[in-house]
Symmetry: C2
Subunit: 348 residues, 2 copies
DNA sequence: AATATGAATTTAAACGTTTAAATTAAAAAT
DNA sequence: ATTTTTAATTTAAACGTTTAAATTCATATT
């Protein structure tokens, strides 16, 4: 069913039908009714491809994700899609499958950039109006999408290159979390950081240090550990920290997975949370539901990051934005029962 | 950069360039070289929209998912995308966001069908060559996608309507799991089933019963419980089952979430797994990594389901399939340490 | 009565491809 | 030398829209 057929059925020209469809010119009440009736009856659906070709606007957004099976990715996509749908855009998704590639090739992702280029190629071929790149942020990535003349927004990941970006705050969030612990009277801290090379690990640690410094609290070097974000290393690190005679009163784990490790290490040492040791996490991962007592953690604004990325991109597409914008969204502290109130130093 | 421009740069007609590009007619070695050089130099990319319009084939596949934030969905999408990419197809994704709607509207998903229709509308408008519908299978859904004249494959979910489908085996898998328990000498069973109204719960229970029946084992009605797939109800049910004097030797939980509930209930009663009570789960969810001892569970062939769905759809699109096909894939039993060997009845 | 106005509609070109059919040029067969 | 065959290339229509410009026709203005 095409415009032409509708037109001939209604006894008008294709132009008139198009005008009715898009409400883009004056059409007499009578013909409008007639055409609309036929459109409804036939269940006619406009060919978006033809429309896009003619209008040189595809209403298509390309979304490249580094790995869709990393759980937070789905929430970001969710956010992106919600805005896209509301604004009449469609998304085409390309999953780089980075994680399975890293696993199978032993950290040797040779064709990584090649894959991105290929994805971009296809998307440009599809005439996308813009691209959102959802990366994992354990590495610094520079200029992953180069010389495409379309608007680009980087979401979640870090980039030094041109293009707007949407991230969440690592430094400030851990700063606040640490402040909260300090306000609860904690003075002796242990920390289990994420991967050394990782940017967010560095930032989170920075926030942690800033809070301590401001409060004049000293951090013993032997109370600083580094994990690989995973349960096992978190547990091992915690076992060391808690195995000493005068272990800290609070352990800041830089993600929930390692926080579970702290829980288990504490349990094995016969320590009760939060009475003997306070613990905080980061991510508000699924595992939190199973932890008793519920861990105090951080929720990242994942869906919101999707919203903002898409909105930013649309602004860029419609030319209403002024250059590249870099947004850093705040996280929410999720209170649990894993932190003991030692003294109240809060005023008011 | 268009065909026309390339053509004029190479001093040939657009047709020739098209022939070079698609290798679809004889072109002299000389002109081919010349054209190819210019294509490479200019970085020309064919406009897929125009191509699709002309060829009446979009190389686009519509993927409708009921909720992308349900973790297994990502793995299915992953599988779908992998095949799509390999075969030169693109996917456009529509996320119905069913879960958040159910949560916010109190089980009253009024515009559910409407949303599907809208998604289908857009996809047909985009001239997709076919549609894959990835549903959750807690309900029976009939004819969700009606009178579209395109190939459709239902993935994961149940449907009575036309269209091919790809699922995994619930009945047989639990049957095998139960057999394994029986082979390990278990005779007294408890079971924590999923939601009563749910199709997979019914099927899993059926498999469970079949194994017992074949082995001549009787199931006490008081040892049958129903949860809502969630931790809390699993734990409550387990507490009841294990609180009795002569509780079973094995509890079959119909998913991992509830199995964790069993673990915690057992722990609170001072029962050791697997010494005092054997437990099995289903899903091989993330939580399994944190369970000690590791639970014996089931891995669904999620990615494989994505592969098969896409392959089936492509066969349908290319007319090489014969009518609707319904595929049920087997699951893998993931051995853990949560099952005690009471007696060995296995022969050989 | 002639002209101007304006609303409703149509015409036709354009978007970037593909491809059947036509044309041209060269080589082969008579 | 003419005709036939074959290879290489071009022409032009088609896909389904949008939209500027042109046309038609009724009504209002002079």
């Amino acid at each position: 069913m095409t415009l032409k057929e509708i037109a001939s059925m209604a006894g008008v020209s294709v132009a008139t039908v198009s005008y009715v469809l898009n409400n883009t010119a004056q059409v007499s009440e009578e013909t409008r009714k007639r055409v609309e009736k036929i459109i409804k009856e036939t269940g006619y659906r406009s060919n978006i491809l033809a429309k896009s070709l003619r209008k040189n606007e595809s209403f298509l957004i390309g979304v490249i994700v580094e790995d869709i099976t990393v759980w937070h990715t789905a929430y970001i996509i969710d956010g992106i899609n919600e805005i896209a749908e509301a604004r009449g855009y469609n998304t085409i998704l390309n999953n780089l499958r980075l994680l399975s590639k890293i696993e199978s090739q032993f950290e040797h992702i040779s064709n990584y950039q090649e894959d991105i280029d290929k994805a971009v190629d296809v998307m440009i071929g599809m005439q996308v109006d813009g691209i959102i790149y959802v990366g994992m942020h354990d590495r610094k990535i520079n200029h992953v999408l180069h010389d495409i003349k379309k608007p680009v927004v980087y979401c979640y990941c870090y980039t030094d290159g041109e293009g707007s970006s949407v991230r969440y705050s690592n430094e400030k969030t851990v700063y606040q979390m640490t402040q909260m612990l300090i306000n609860n009277g904690h003075k002796e801290f242990g920390v289990i950081n994420g991967l050394k090379e990782s940017e967010p690990a560095a930032l989170r640690f920075k926030g942690f240090q800033r809070a301590l410094k401001e409060a004049g609290i000293e951090l013993k070097p032997e109370n600083v550990a580094c994990g690989n974000w995973k349960y096992r290393e978190g547990k091992e690190a915690a076992a060391k920290l808690l195995g000493k005679k005068d272990f800290p009163t609070a352990i800041v784990a830089m993600n929930d997975d390692m926080a579970v490790g702290v829980y288990d290490a504490a349990k094995e040492l016969g320590l009760k949370i939060p009475d003997d040791i306070s613990v905080t996490g980061f991510d508000n991962a699924d595992i939190v539901h199973y932890m008793t007592p519920r861990v105090t953690t951080v929720e990242r604004p994942l869906q919101e990051m999707g919203y903002r990325s898409m909105e930013l991109l649309l602004e860029s597409i419609h030319g209403t934005s002024v250059g590249d914008v870099n947004i850093t969204l705040p996280c929410a502290l999720i209170g649990g029962e894993s932190v003991k109130k030692l003294v109240t130093t809060e005023e008011l």
